[in-house]
Subunit: 434 residues, 4 copies
Amino acid sequence: MIPRYSRPDMVAIWEPQTRFRIWFEIEAHACDAQAALGVIPKANAEAVWKAKDVTFNVARIDEIEAVTKHDVIAFLTHLAEIIGNDEARFVHQGMTSSDVLDTTLNIQLTRAADLLMAGLDRVLAALKTRAYEHKDTVRIGRSHGIHAEPTTMGLTFARFYAEMARNRARLENARAEIATGAISGAVGTFANIDPAVEEHVCKMMGLTPEPISTQVIPRDRHAMFFATLGVIASSIENIAIEIRHMQRTEVLEAEEFFSPGQKGSSAMPHKRNPVLTENLTGLARLVRMSVTPALENVALWHERDISHSSVERAIGPDTTITLDFALHRLAGVVEKLVIYPENMLKNMNKFKGLIMSQRVLLALTQAGVSREDSYRLVQRNAMKVWEQGADFKTELLADPEVTAALSREEIEEKFDLGYHTKHVDTIFARVFGS
Amino acid sequence: MIPRYSRPDMVAIWEPQTRFRIWFEIEAHACDAQAALGVIPKANAEAVWKAKDVTFNVARIDEIEAVTKHDVIAFLTHLAEIIGNDEARFVHQGMTSSDVLDTTLNIQLTRAADLLMAGLDRVLAALKTRAYEHKDTVRIGRSHGIHAEPTTMGLTFARFYAEMARNRARLENARAEIATGAISGAVGTFANIDPAVEEHVCKMMGLTPEPISTQVIPRDRHAMFFATLGVIASSIENIAIEIRHMQRTEVLEAEEFFSPGQKGSSAMPHKRNPVLTENLTGLARLVRMSVTPALENVALWHERDISHSSVERAIGPDTTITLDFALHRLAGVVEKLVIYPENMLKNMNKFKGLIMSQRVLLALTQAGVSREDSYRLVQRNAMKVWEQGADFKTELLADPEVTAALSREEIEEKFDLGYHTKHVDTIFARVFGS
Amino acid sequence: MIPRYSRPDMVAIWEPQTRFRIWFEIEAHACDAQAALGVIPKANAEAVWKAKDVTFNVARIDEIEAVTKHDVIAFLTHLAEIIGNDEARFVHQGMTSSDVLDTTLNIQLTRAADLLMAGLDRVLAALKTRAYEHKDTVRIGRSHGIHAEPTTMGLTFARFYAEMARNRARLENARAEIATGAISGAVGTFANIDPAVEEHVCKMMGLTPEPISTQVIPRDRHAMFFATLGVIASSIENIAIEIRHMQRTEVLEAEEFFSPGQKGSSAMPHKRNPVLTENLTGLARLVRMSVTPALENVALWHERDISHSSVERAIGPDTTITLDFALHRLAGVVEKLVIYPENMLKNMNKFKGLIMSQRVLLALTQAGVSREDSYRLVQRNAMKVWEQGADFKTELLADPEVTAALSREEIEEKFDLGYHTKHVDTIFARVFGS
Amino acid sequence: MIPRYSRPDMVAIWEPQTRFRIWFEIEAHACDAQAALGVIPKANAEAVWKAKDVTFNVARIDEIEAVTKHDVIAFLTHLAEIIGNDEARFVHQGMTSSDVLDTTLNIQLTRAADLLMAGLDRVLAALKTRAYEHKDTVRIGRSHGIHAEPTTMGLTFARFYAEMARNRARLENARAEIATGAISGAVGTFANIDPAVEEHVCKMMGLTPEPISTQVIPRDRHAMFFATLGVIASSIENIAIEIRHMQRTEVLEAEEFFSPGQKGSSAMPHKRNPVLTENLTGLARLVRMSVTPALENVALWHERDISHSSVERAIGPDTTITLDFALHRLAGVVEKLVIYPENMLKNMNKFKGLIMSQRVLLALTQAGVSREDSYRLVQRNAMKVWEQGADFKTELLADPEVTAALSREEIEEKFDLGYHTKHVDTIFARVFGS
């Protein structure tokens, strides 16, 4: 985790304090269930809740762990210090450490997913606002980086919205993947604990019981989770690349927001760097890099080995924190993106009307001119634009062979931008609903 | 694609003949829609269907492409040769090549998903059969490769079943991701073609219209598709690793099926190698390697660049063909896996009864023996097993300090395997339904 | 392997005929060594060379393999058909299949490395030629996609040259990594064959004996090999991205070569797409995707498992063929790249002189103007350029506060491009030698 | 960075204090060079060294950065606070931030490489010691996890030694890759600073001047660096997997060291988990995951974009710290690995003598028995071993058809382990030198 690329809410999920709090809740709910089954005395179960509002002493737990070399035992020892040794003696009965650890990891990932969902929602809201704002702002569409046909800035935002809406649905699936818990014992047979305990704990913690676990919750779930985050990161990169292109000096159709006081911007007004979207490009790589180790984590030996653990200690926090930060950074960029419609027009007209050459070609053939002749007519006028900077429409109107086939109105019509934007509302309805 | 790791059905999806057939259908349906809109004459639309049952001449199309340097134009030229130049003159009107190419890719991937689904179903059926067959076949559960507590072979199959059932659900999502089509023109604005054409073509081809496309269908869909295949591959590896472990000489709890006539197996009966599951381990790596380039394909420049294309030419066929082959190879391995229950028992008893030491320890403390004393008692008997090969239960029964605390019946009970298998039916009900 | 992205020379390395030829040579040299040791009769060793100029019948070998289910045995059977059963009876004695297979793979990879080296050399030659050709062609240097300070097109080529020269050195290392052979038996102990055989075979085949092998040659070598190809691919992407940027409509500082006859280019002269470099971007992803599975192949179980084999069947040919094709495609692009120096100047002057604002600012402070005043002076003139399209130098020369601090000559000097190019020769000397 | 997987020396390299110290040294040496060139006064250059032994106040620098939003400026401001504003006024003259930042990163990576080298050396020393210790400790070699032919434990260590020795050579190359520095200005043209400054700074900091840079040092160097670390990590996994296999209950040929006092080990002596090598397996995945983003970092836009920066902020420290920790953990495991030669023999003899069946088969055919008969003879005796637990040699000696062909001595000889170990010294000489 890199502090500068993190937000406090997500960081908090991964702090020791939060982890111990979750451990406590799992243990306390498990005691309740055990008491209900008559396995342990009700009084002992109730006593555990004395620690309900306690802030656990992380330093003290670390101190104990330094001796016991076991994190869960250290915590339980500390818990006993709080609620009393005698009261605590049934805590954790029949459970293994992994019951607590694996269920906790999934709770943390589930909460992380909720925060990511909020980040996605902010991105979606920003994209929708900007899409409607620029629904009819015409700009040139580019394939291969080359001018193709006109489109609108609103459509650009709308397609990013559609992509992020898909990511939202994917994240919901991914959240469901890891919203499971397991209290099933050393190899998952419930030999030492009744399945009812698992059911109760999961219910109270907002999880589904893992249908079949083996000390660990199966890691295909986590693989799917991180793979999904990798896809979301790639979409962030997709938007970032678009903005970086728009901001490059020769294009200048948009700029990341610069606060007026930002030093240097007015003495070197051309030198405003899209550093936020460049940063997002890098953050996307960081999020994506967790996908492969998460996939490699799936194949554990027999009922479990612990090779996955170190991987998750790193990518659990790092990947969710980075993606959370990236989503909000992206949202901020989109919300405040400075857009230059006039530059969009200027760029579109760089080769005065040339992007309409294909429509003219088609019109000529449809007007009965042979394919070869149509091509020749378009070509000779196009070359004047390309080589001498002439205006395409003007040249066409001045070419008697052209005007013999097409009327002025027909030629004018080929340069009508409305031709290209006529279905924008249809597309918006598809993307945003009516 | 490596012929030895391929099945004809999946290979067929990616053959030129199939591709041209799909192109034809897209073009023909588009003509129907255009005719319905009154854009082209009905007779021309109908004429296209003359090629309905024609086997396209791939060599001829390649020949034309060698001249035109354009695959779609080459195909259209060949189509015109079949249905007549005049009849063909409205085919493809208003469309761009990508309309055809991208929709076709998604149709191929959708069909591939259907085949993969069938493969998964075969794996699931095999796992379920073997799970019920060995529901009560006791074997030792292992954490860290070390004996832990007893479980059953049926539970092992059941957890792989549950994992593959999750993969089936994921694959359904992945299929939905790429079951879209687009006929939206050069930058996706429908400038030259009515959205109704897209709707009709998609409906006839079993697709959903892409809500917003930009010459290309957005690549986050394909990234999610390949990421999902990567997860499935990791689950295949998971099962493969389990079987490889079971077959290793010292464990020998299972073997891949050897046909009786297979040379060498009886002169060297110990030398039966788990080559199929080792191969599956490698194939899993091959499937997974498509995930990163698929993620890198998402961020295209502006409305599209063509960097994704070469990647998809490779991973489209290769990844689906490899995974399809791997699923069926896995199914075959599971269906015919030779299981040795007697070796499972032999392995479990390698350290005669020692795996029960923890239950005995717990029983002693619950019988009122202090924690320290309990530990000492277990330890001194355990060491006899470990160092001298004694039998743990026999030693305990002969230890007066132990028998002072626990009756013979209580000690015997600690070695009862039923204690560990009592919830197997519960877990099976969770996994397979009641 | 995708035919359209392949060159015949590299494809040939991976064809069955080549593989069998290498197998033959290994077996024949091994026989010579065995005969020299007195292990087999000299006459039998000599007889093997009867097949020296034979074209092996791949179909016949496949036919035998269909029965024996073993590729090496099938080959040896076919070899015996050629040289006689009796003469052939000592061939392969004391060897295991892997001795032949692993040594062959390394020979193929070594030959592939040689071809890649030739590809790199062609790229280097092209970059050097273009670097000198445009050593003094001034263009704007861009950081963050934003105009920064002037540089030259020659420096751009020169840095790509330096990068590719590093890649050449890396490829030499990578070649050395996999130029080893092993004839060491079932677990690498030479139990059944003298190390002298390995030495002789390796010497004759241009390899170094693997110091210690275990039926297989250790896979860290192959991991390093493919990792190196991944780095080279990333450098190809680096150059491809630069060219794609240069060709985008708004920049147009260079274009991939278009043959004059190429259809469409003159009727739509603006629509020349950088499809070759876009393709290279995708091919780079394909090459890179082999790195992870190659790394995963390193950890084989004990003396060997065969999980690596399927991976190598794919990435061995696919990765080298793709990279070979990419290098030559890149070389072609660089050799024929159409460069527009006048557009470079036009772009550089987009914001008339503004890129010199920092030099002016520095000059003012060095002339004794306070930092605040200097900033204010630069700012007010810069804003006229930015907002009204004025010329920066003209404005400065007309600003009495500026001219009070700086003479006309001093101001003029700040706009001298020679200031930026004065060390180009130094850099060229570093890169290309004096 | 995960504290529990880190060592202080490597962590120190990445601490702010170290970074600022390096920045200081770069700036101070640059001033010396500028003074020597006569660009700045000698006195000012000398004054900078007043901060030579100062511990920079990180909190203060952070405080300034909070205002200036620029880390290098914040540092320079703090430096001026120490050496005096007037004395400091020529510091950094002609340089850009990246000159300092990129050179610093490479210094940190170079130092990291030195620490990694020390880690590798410790691993190498441990492997060599254990190799010689167990040079003649016979164990069964396994292919596919199945018993093959005897080898020795010393050969296992020797092959890991050879692999790690290769890694050492690779790391030397990787270190050379990133041991370069650049002080070349905004786009690398040395417009504002003489190349002599770069030369001097590099010389003093132990670096080579980057032949051609563009504000940034080219990232193919870093890609190669991290790719090399990925290969080393895979070798760590390779050794870890071997040890995990050796420790599994059924094999038990070795165990990670357990301190005698380690709780639980004697009451459950079978339950000693190879947690260190499992952890190493996970750490290897963490190190490897940096390779792909490092490769993606190569293709920066034009002279530089900053997308690489966030990636390096993460993988720079995380990857080197994790690998450093892993190397020392591995060294510790190897140094103290508890090896059980008697279990190796026991495992080898699991199928009493059966692993020699192939040698017997060969001997029979060489003694003139037909291939079919030889096979039949071996088979019928082998099956008695396999099915009834008989001893292979005993059965052969009791089989008159066998003894008719082979004398007792000849049969005995086939079971001589010396046959398999006769070349161990040769291999050791190859690996360790004579």
